[in-house]
Structure formats: structure tokens, C-alpha cells
């Protein structure tokens, strides 16, 4: 009886793992199977020409660049806010601080807010500030979207830090700031992971940028210009009745996936480089 239990449970666990792996392979497989044949050099080096959405020549460089600009800007903004916040609630506030608890709880709520709500909120904010749909609007809204995720994952790794290290630093007469600088170095792999998660969520999200970044066939050259994004580009191409264009949507999806994969691998590489002296 005992062994039967063990066996059943093992089967369930293996099954669950298989389902996840299967779904992942199926999704990536479909995207690549449909997308790779339409993936031409033109796709990644040219902006849409006239009639691109009807099957004529051109590419999605506008969307690639737009997405890259938006996620880079959003990352910079959210890092500048997340890192100090996480350092503050972990190293400056006492362990059982109520304020830290409230912050964590708020972040959990914000994390659960759907991205379309961020989009709507960002849009309302832009109307209030008098900004049109633009790169800047997209950056701010995506930053708001990824910040809770980034803070929460940074917070988790920071809390796992052994208590010895801060104590060792303080007993050497470090100020809190000097201590934080050293601890950040130790936390570098965690920071990289947080960035990765944030990029993954931010770059693939269509709802936030729908109203706030707008859409354009050109590459934005200033913050006040509208910017195209890959998710929206995929959406518009999929909506086309022309089969060729639909296939290009899959090609765009391949590009998006590859960008995320490249980011993933390079982040892992740099993280192992930074953590050379990790204890």
C-alpha cells in the first residue's frame, strides 16, 4: 500500500513535468515551424514598406527597435527605483518592520494587476500630463508594469542572503551604504535574474503599449515620437487576411523569442562573471 502511494505520486509528478515540457516544446515548435520559412533578412533589417500588411515588401525593424528602446528605458527607470527600495526595506529597516511588510503586500497586489489596467492607467496619466502616445509614454507604462515583479524577485533573493555577511561588514565599521555596495555585488546573480524576469514580462506585453506607445512604421528617433512594438506588430500581422502576412507574424514571433533567448543567455553569462568572488 505504502509503495502504491509512492508510485502513484511519482507518476503524477512526472506527468506534470511532462505536460509543462510538452506545452513549451509545442509552442516554440509551432512558432518556429510556421515562422522560420518566412524569416528573411529583410524582416529584421527593413521597416515596413508601402503595402507591407498586404503582403508587399518590408520588415519589422520598426517593431524590433521600438521594443528594444521601450524595454531598455523601462529597465533603467525600474532599476533606479527598485534597487534603492529593496535595499532600504532589507538593510535599513529592522527585520520585523511593519513598513516593509506593507510595501511587500502592496507589491504583491500590484503584481496581480492585469497589464491592460496598467495600460489604461498609463494612458490616463499621459492625458493628464499632456503627452501623446509616444516612446516616453510606453517606457513609463512598461516600467510600472515590470517594477513590482522586479522588486519582488530582488526582495526574495535579498532575503536569502546569509545574515553573517551584513554583520561582518558592519563590524568592520562600514556604514550602511558601504555595506549595501558590497552586498549588491553578492546579489548580482539575483539582480540579473530579476532583470530577466522583468524583460520577459515587459517585452512581450501588448496591452500596456497599445494606448501608450502607439504604433508607427518608422523607427522612433525621439522620446516624443510614437513607437512600434513586436507584440503589436504580431497582432496586426495576424489580423491580416493575407496568408503571407500571417506567416510573417510567426516570423516576428520567432524574432521576439530569439531576442528573449539571447538576453537570457547573455544575462547568465554576465551573472557568472560578476559573481566570480561570490562566497
Amino acid at each position: 500500500m505504502k509503495y502504491l502511494e509512492e508510485k502513484i505520486f511519482k507518476v503524477i509528478m512526472i506527468g506534470a513535468a511532462m505536460i509543462i515540457m510538452g506545452v513549451l516544446i509545442y509552442i516554440i515548435g509551432t512558432v518556429f515551424y510556421k515562422g522560420v520559412p518566412s524569416l528573411t533578412w529583410d524582416m529584421i533589417t527593413r521597416i515596413p514598406g508601402g503595402g507591407f500588411y498586404l503582403g508587399k515588401e518590408g520588415g519589422v525593424l520598426n517593431a524590433i527597435m521600438g521594443s528594444v528602446f521601450i524595454i531598455t528605458g523601462a529597465l533603467i527607470i525600474s532599476m533606479m527605483i527598485s534597487v534603492p527600495l529593496v535595499m532600504y526595506i532589507n538593510f535599513y529597516l529592522p527585520n520585523k518592520s511593519n513598513f516593509a511588510g506593507i510595501v511587500r503586500f502592496s507589491l504583491d497586489i500590484l503584481f496581480g494587476v492585469p497589464s491592460i489596467v496598467y495600460g489604461a492607467f498609463g494612458f490616463a496619466l499621459m492625458v493628464y500630463m499632456g503627452i501623446k502616445a509616444s516612446l516616453l509614454g510606453g517606457i513609463i507604462t512598461v516600467a510600472m508594469l515590470i517594477m513590482p515583479l522586479m522588486m519582488r524577485s530582488l526582495d526574495e533573493v535579498t532575503r536569502l542572503l546569509p545574515r553573517d555577511l551584513p554583520d561582518a561588514l558592519l563590524s568592520l565599521g562600514s556604514t550602511k551604504y558601504e555595506m549595501t555596495k558590497v552586498l549588491l555585488r553578492q546579489l548580482m546573480p539575483g539582480v540579473i535574474t530579476a532583470i530577466l524576469l522583468a524583460v520577459g514580462r515587459g517585452i512581450g506585453d501588448a496591452a500596456t503599449v497599445l494606448f501608450t506607445a502607439g504604433y508607427t512604421d518608422n523607427i522612433p528617433v525621439s522620446l516624443s515620437q510614437p513607437a512600434a512594438t513586436l507584440p503589436l506588430s504580431i497582432f496586426f500581422q495576424l489580423g491580416s487576411p493575407v496568408e503571407e502576412v500571417q506567416n510573417r507574424a510567426y516570423a516576428s514571433a520567432v524574432i521576439l523569442t530569439v531576442i528573449i533567448l539571447i538576453l537570457s543567455f547573455s544575462a547568465r553569462y554576465f551573472s557568472s562573471k560578476f559573481s566570480k568572488h561570490k562566497s
Binding site: 529592522p94 568592520l172 565599521g173 558590497v182 555585488r185
Partner: protein
């Protein structure tokens, strides 16, 4: 603001303190380097240390012994104000270090900690190279000149006997060292901030016998220049290296005195029981 720089003979004292002590601090610290008066420590509502009164003579090794949970580590942490980080800890009483109550208002925590080199139970190298570990203290305390830093690092690595072992790889990660080497590195790192006191919190309990021996020998060497205060679990270690013993039980000091006297002729029944191993 008090400038705790022991190259200075006299220290500037803040106005609040001026009333009772304006004399050079080094002279006050003549033979009682640390003087604890009526010290009570509470964590939340628990009374951890009860009315501790103690004088620790300078340039000697004082070992604090006692069963687990008797407050040894808590006591050690009051000496370099590590409890400051925990709001649930309340401290009453006075701790004079070099004649200056470190719990007085206006005393700089950093200056206090800089006077105390702490050696923790488990070595905890900083996430940087061996060199940078030792150089960290001097750097944050304002040494800029590269040459001076190099000198300091080599000097203290030599002092703890690590220099010959790591000579060719001081730029490699400190976490690659063996645990005994790491502990000596931590000692070098602590010495590099040029403290006057060395605090050891069961500093050898995680080490193998050989590394333990090396650290003990270092402590004996250190007492020529520093005042060493150790918390230890091993009575034999205390007997080997201590000049004075303080025996604590349930947050109180039961008995204290010179090592030989303490072990050969303890006054209290409780001490005798502890020494004979009736409880631990």
C-alpha cells in the same frame, strides 16, 4: 563628534561628556580597558543579561565561558554595539571602552566598531578577492594611497601566517580558501582596520584542530598589542590561552578571576559543577 583614532594621544570629547572626562583617554584605560557597569540587556521582554559588572584588563586574553544560551554572545555584541541593528534589544547600563561610555549619546557607532576587530564563529569572507578582503577596512576608513594599502595587506597577511600560502593568488576569490585559511583571513581583515580590541565569538568552533591551534597561537601573539576577549565553548581552550576567565550562567556572571585560580580553586559550587561537567 568623537574621533577615535588611536594615533592621537588625546581625543576630542563632545560637550556633553566634557563635564566629567576631559583627560586623555589612553591614560584612563590604564589597566581596565573595558569596564562594564550595571549592564542589563533585554530582547523583547526577555531579560538576557542581568546586572553585569566586569572589568577587562588590557593586553590580556579574557575568556567568557558558560553553557549555551547563557548570554555570552549577547554580551560580546554589546561591546561593539552590534545590537544597534535590532530594535527589539534594549540595553541599560554603561560600557566604558577606553574610559568612554559607548552607549552615551553622541558616540559614533562606526568609531566604536572600528576599535573592535570581531572574529565570528564561521568565517565570512567578503565577495571579493583575498587582497580586497584585507584592503576593505583601510579603504572604507579613508586610506587612499595604493602603496600604503599594499603594505597593510601584506603586513597583516604575514601576521596571520597566510601570506606564504596565498602569495601567488591574492587576486583570486577569498571563498576558494579552506575554512581555516578563511578564518585567518577574517582575522587579518579585522586587524587591518587597526583595532585595539579583538573579539572572538567561538572563533575556532568551526575549525579543524590544526587551524584551531594556529588561531590560538595568533591570539597569544595578539595580546602583546591588543586586548583580546573570547567567547568559547571549550574549557580546555580557555585554560590553554586565557589570562582571565569569566563564567556566566543564565545571564549572570557567576565567577571571574585569573585562569589558574579559577580552574584550580573555584569559589562557587556552580562553577565546580560546570567545570566537572555536571552540566553544559
Amino acid at each position: 563628534m568623537i574621533i577615535a583614532n588611536h594615533h592621537l594621544e588625546t581625543l576630542t570629547v563632545n560637550p556633553a561628556m566634557e563635564i566629567n572626562r576631559t583627560y586623555p583617554l589612553r591614560k584612563v584605560a590604564h589597566d581596565n580597558a573595558i569596564k562594564v557597569e550595571n549592564l542589563d540587556v533585554y530582547i523583547d521582554d526577555q531579560h538576557i543579561l542581568k546586572d553585569i559588572n566586569l572589568s577587562i584588563p588590557e593586553k590580556s586574553i579574557t575568556c567568557i565561558i558558560g553553557p549555551s544560551g547563557c548570554g555570552k554572545t549577547t554580551f560580546l555584541k554589546t561591546l561593539n554595539r552590534m545590537h544597534d541593528e535590532l530594535p527589539e534589544v534594549r540595553i541599560k547600563g554603561k560600557v566604558y571602552v577606553d574610559g568612554l561610555n559607548i552607549y552615551d549619546k553622541g558616540v559614533n557607532v562606526i568609531d566604536t566598531r572600528k576599535k573592535m576587530g570581531l572574529l565570528a564563529q564561521r568565517p565570512c569572507p567578503l565577495p571579493m578577492s583575498i587582497f580586497d578582503n584585507v584592503a576593505y577596512g583601510p579603504r572604507i576608513h579613508g586610506t587612499k594611497r595604493r602603496k600604503k594599502i599594499n603594505q597593510t595587506v601584506i603586513q597583516y597577511l604575514q601576521y596571520v601566517g597566510l601570506w606564504d600560502e596565498v602569495r601567488g593568488r591574492v587576486r583570486t576569490s577569498a571563498s576558494k580558501l579552506s575554512i581555516g585559511q578563511q578564518q585567518r583571513l577574517c582575522l587579518a581583515r579585522g586587524l587591518a582596520i587597526e583595532p585595539e580590541y579583538i573579539l572572538g565569538d567561538e572563533a575556532t568552533s568551526a575549525l579543524d584542530p590544526l587551524s584551531t591551534k594556529k588561531i590560538e597561537e595568533l591570539f597569544i601573539q595578539l595580546k602583546e598589542k591588543y586586548t583580546v576577549i573570547l567567547v568559547t565553548h571549550t574549557l580546555r581552550q580557555a585554560r590553554r590561552i586565557a589570562d582571565n576567565i569569566v563564567f556566566m550562567y543564565l545571564g549572570k556572571i557567576v565567577e571571574s578571576g585569573p585562569t589558574e585560580e579559577f580552574f584550580n580553586n573555584p569559589e562557587k559550587q556552580l562553577t565546580r559543577d560546570y567545570l566537572s561537567g555536571s552540566f553544559s
